[in-house]
């Protein structure tokens, strides 16, 4: 029962950690650049989860003030993560632009083949 309590109260953080290390694994272990960017994107999404979860109050409502409600979830993490999402798509598009350029210049987006073609690497 005690263990079950711990699982319920930390499940969000554990899933966030799992998503985070899976994203890290994709970025390190996979050689395809589009796959790496997808992994980086999912890594980023896990941070949204990590930030938003502590702001939630069970039984609370979204932070839009109205006379009928008294308990609101914390609005501050929401604001921070709104900024993070928009910056995230900006960096993703820049990364994808680089992938397109690399494909134009080398004809491949696989890390191994790129190393093979570049004599200094």
């Amino acid at each position: 029962m005690d263990f079950l309590q711990t699982v319920v109260s930390h499940y969000n953080q554990w899933i966030a950690v799992f998503l985070m290390v899976s994203g890290l694994y994709i970025v390190v272990a996979r050689g395809n650049m589009v796959k790496k960017l997808v992994g980086l994107n999912l890594f980023q999404t896990s941070v949204y989860l990590l930030y938003i979860s502590p702001g939630k109050i069970l039984g609370g409502t979204p932070p839009i003030l109205a006379a009928e409600f008294a308990v609101y979830s914390n609005p501050l993490p929401h604001v921070l993560i709104l900024t993070a999402i928009v910056v995230g798509v900006a960096t993703l598009s820049l990364g994808l632009g680089l992938v397109v350029r690399i494909n134009e210049a080398f004809g491949t987006i696989e890390e191994e083949e790129l190393f093979a073609r570049d004599p200094e690497a």
């Binding site: 969000n12 694994y25 932070p63 609101y72 993490p77 929401h78 709104l82 999402i85």
Partner: protein
Amino acid sequence: MIEALINMVLLTLLAAIMIGVVRLRNLFAVVILSSAYSFIIATVLIVLDAVDVAMTEAAVGAGISTVLMLAVLFLTKTEEQKPKHSPALPLFVATVTGIALIYGTLDLPAFGVPDQPIHTHVGAYYLEKSVEETGIPNVVSSVLASYRGFDTLGETTVVFTAGIGVLLLLRRNRRRNGKNGETS
């Protein structure tokens, strides 16, 4: 209680999709799965009362990101090669990091409890004073545009810079293609 249950079911779905993304080698499937992932995380954000973030994630994460990645797949290849290196070392690093982080979470406050440090500082101030000081009932909007307006200005700068970067990358590309076209 029902909120916590829905939350846990959706999070389990997220973990399942993540396993699919790690294992699949067809990039088209990976991109579509990551779009589904974005929609599910938008649903989780609604359950966690972050409605503004959920709308942004559904539009930006599931919409624009997916379109951009599909466009890049159209220009490149849709099949990933088999990795030549053994994945043992990255797997080890990821597992050790994960265990250390999970050990760290055990000291964090429990999910959904009202009396924890995050609710005592400036968040409570915003909830109390937003209507009085800015006249906006949606506290997320008032913090974003008024209390922390400079953050949003910085964010716009980053987006602008990234836009310039993408334009420069792709324009140079086009010019070189034009030259090649002239000489050949």
